[in-house]
């Protein structure tokens, strides 16, 4: 788990500014959480948590520099955290049913174990690597779009993607050998 590092909170937004930020980015946060969790209730929890953090002045300077990237990252990290939590607790029949209901038709052959292992492995990537992987493969964003969202060049995104995939491959292979 990450070590504690206290960051300097920046000034919190005025209510009207918060509302603007919420209106603009809440759908992105929800979609991102949905993409990882595939569950309405959990995605809504993540959405609420992300914006509660914002209200509580739990800011990092990144937020002002690039709110989209920051909120996206927050949604991904929270979703992965929730997925880990679910992984640790015994599987409930209700969850299984929910997964079945939310999974698109024709994809029932998905290996649930691999799915969780994959997210476990993504959770072990650096935040920047996990971010590009999810943006590209989960949300079908192009390298140019990712670069724009994160404020880095397209080449930089491509390199990050390649390294992240290589690392993921290794993590999954190691896991399998164990």
């Amino acid at each position: 788990m990450s070590t504690a590092t206290v960051t300097d909170p920046i000034q919190s937004p005025a209510p009207e500014d918060f509302d603007c930020v919420y209106r603009e980015y809440a759908p992105l946060v929800y979609r991102t959480a949905w993409g990882v969790l595939g569950c309405r209730e959990d995605a809504e929890d993540v959405l609420q948590t992300v914006f509660v953090k914002l209200l509580r002045r739990e800011f990092v300077p990144d937020l002002q520099k690039n709110p989209k990237a920051y909120l996206y990252r927050a949604a991904v990290n929270l979703s992965i955290d929730l997925l880990r939590e679910k992984r640790m607790r015994p599987a409930l029949l209700v969850d299984a049913e929910r997964i079945e209901k939310t999974a698109p038709a024709g994809q029932s052959e998905i290996n649930e174990d691999l799915y969780l292992r994959l997210y476990e492995a993504i959770g072990r990537l650096s935040p920047s690597s996990a971010e590009v992987i999810l943006l590209h493969h989960m949300q079908n964003k192009t390298t140019a779009e990712i670069g724009k969202a994160l404020g880095i060049s397209r080449t930089h995104v491509a390199v990050r993607l390649f390294r992240a995939r290589t690392r993921l491959r290794k993590l999954l292979t190691q896991e399998k050998k164990r």
Binding site: W34, V52, K53, D81, R165, R169
Partner: protein
């Protein structure tokens, strides 16, 4: 190594794209739920970590909150100082009956309470807010205007023209937005109600938005009694002026409670037409369907023969079938459910001819109805006259993937300034961009070229080519291309929307394959789809 890379890509694409996009209604409803849970706290947050968001079971216990906090920014954050929120205090009393200039007398977010005589508040943009006795409200700056937060009581707002922005009135369970109009809002224990005196307002409750016109009103709770608008405004000092405005609006008062459809045509004529498409063409000389709102005549889903004249504020169809009406009314992918009768289906199968109708429908006030409102009226007409019942669900819809052609790509790396994809000579497409950008442009092209209104699924780039390329290609002649609005009816009847989409995509794919070494491969992609559960043949009138 290369194979490993391809494998991991495949696994990632398959597993991470597993859930696809959430249905739009889920997104809207979640965003609005959370916003409503957070909003009472936002305006009155007195300082850090003093808010109490005790919204849902099992949500944000101290331990979970700590875990969440670490995950979110990788740093320790304060979570232990959560304590119950103090009730917001009323910090200013409004003078009885006197006109108050909002600025500088009223500060943003101050909670105000009117006395026994009510109050009248003038905003800087010349909007006026008449406040009923013993009401509580606050003014806030919204992203694109001003928001009045009504906690209790009632207001009648005479909103000045807002330019680009809006004036909002928000209660605990709904938001009203306007550009320039006169309306009243009451916030009560059971819920809220809105009535319009002049102009038009949009009322948003959860994910549901609806427009109200003069004389109409809406309540957020079915248990709320709806009274005539003239009674609702009788407490106002300017009640007589408001009555006069209401009478001028020329729309009879109507009562609406959710979830009833409030936008309806004033006159509807539906007549069944027998015979196939050719006999209809020879009898009527034209075939098609279109609506004419104040913002223009929208593109017809199909037209054969001379253009059908459509007067302002009307929808007119000759030989129209259910599919055309669905396409126009809903503008999103839809499917036939298992109980849909054969007469309603346009399957394109030989011998299967859908029932066709001659339809003319007119809005109450033709000079003040938009195409969006005409669409809503069509939905209401379908529900009322065709007894249409639908539901939404996530289904695989027809999308398209750009993939490499057999002989590999024939693309040239771009130099110089980028150029987004656009319509080129031929007809065709040209540009200097990534293939991802080209894929994003293709739906617009297909919709415009094939005169579709909408396309079920998106295009995605699966060529693996990530560079910036200079390209120009013409559509192949083997594909069907546009069709639709060319004034001719093909021998086998008009092509369906899917036929025209498929033809155009085939023409693009043919052109791309020969000129760029890329082809388009149809693929199923999960999307929010409307499913018809029930429909009945309307009776003629």
């Amino acid at each position: 190594m290369k194979r490993d890379e391809q494998n991991i890509r495949k696994v990632l694409d398959r597993y991470l794209g597993r859930y696809g996009e959430p249905p739009r209604e889920h997104v809207d409803s979640a965003v609005e739920h959370v916003r409503q849970r957070l909003h009472p706290e936002i305006a009155h947050a007195p300082g850090p970590a003093t808010l109490d968001f005790h919204a849902r079971k099992g949500w944000l216990t101290p331990v979970a909150a700590a875990a969440v906090a670490v995950a979110i920014i990788g740093s320790a954050v304060l979570v232990q100082n959560i304590r119950p929120r103090k009730p917001a205090e009323v910090i200013a009393e409004l003078s009885d009956g006197k006109l108050i200039q909002a600025e500088p007398r009223i500060r943003p977010n101050e909670r105000l309470r009117s006395g026994e005589g009510g109050a009248l508040i003038a905003l800087a943009d010349r909007s006026r807010v008449e406040v009923r006795a013993q009401s509580e409200l606050a003014f806030e700056r919204a992203g694109d205007g001003i928001r009045i937060r009504l906690y209790k009581g009632g207001v009648i707002v005479t909103a000045a023209k807002q330019g680009q922005g809006h004036l909002y009135v928000q209660t605990r369970d709904m938001t009203v937005s306007v550009l320039g109009t006169v309306f009243l809002v009451n916030a009560e224990e059971e819920g809220s109600r809105v009535a319009v005196i002049q102009g038009e307002v949009q009322v948003q409750q959860d994910a549901t938005a609806k427009k109200l016109i003069p004389g109409q009103q809406v309540a957020t709770s079915p248990s709320m009694e709806l009274r005539p608008v003239r009674e609702e405004i009788s407490w106002s000092r300017h009640a007589e002026e408001h009555f006069a405005l209401l009478q001028q609006s020329a729309v009879p008062e109507s009562k609406v409670t959710q979830p009833a459809q409030h936008l309806e045509f004033a006159v509807i004529s539906i007549k069944p037409i027998s015979g196939d498409i050719r006999s209809i063409m020879s009898s009527f000389g034209s075939l098609g369907f279109a609506c004419h709102g104040t913002d223009g005549v929208p593109r017809a889903p199909f037209r054969g023969g001379p253009e059908i004249p459509v007067p302002l504020g009307r929808c007119v169809g000759i030989g129209v079938n259910l599919a055309w009406l669905m396409n126009y009314a809903y503008e999103s992918p839809w499917r036939y459910g298992p109980n849909v009768p054969d007469w309603a289906k346009s399957t394109g199968e030989l011998g299967q001819e859908p029932a066709r109708f001659q339809i003319e429908a007119a809005a109450q006030d033709p000079s003040a109805v938009t195409t969006a409102q005409l669409r809503q009226m069509l939905q209401a007409m379908l529900a009322d006259r065709f007894k249409l019942r639908v539901h939404r669900e996530t289904q695989g819809v027809q999308g398209y993937a750009l993939v490499l052609a057999k002989n590999g790509p024939k693309l040239k790396e771009a130099t110089g300034e980028l150029e987004p994809p656009h319509f080129g000579p031929g007809p065709g497409i040209k540009g200097k961009s990534s293939l991802d950008e080209l894929a994003q442009y293709l739906p617009q092209f297909v919709i415009a070229f094939a005169n579709l209104g909408f396309l079920d699924g998106p295009f995605v780039n699966k060529t693996g080519l990530m560079g910036i390329y200079e390209y120009e290609f013409q559509l192949s002649r083997s594909g069907g291309g546009g069709g639709g609005a060319r004034g001719e009816v093909p021998a086998g009847g008009p092509p369906t929307r899917l036929d025209r989409a498929a033809d155009t995509v085939a023409a693009i794919s043919g052109g791309m394959e020969s000129q760029l070494g890329i082809r388009i491969q149809p693929e199923k992609i999960p999307a929010d789809v409307i499913v018809i559960d029930q429909v009945e043949k309307p009776s003629a009138n």
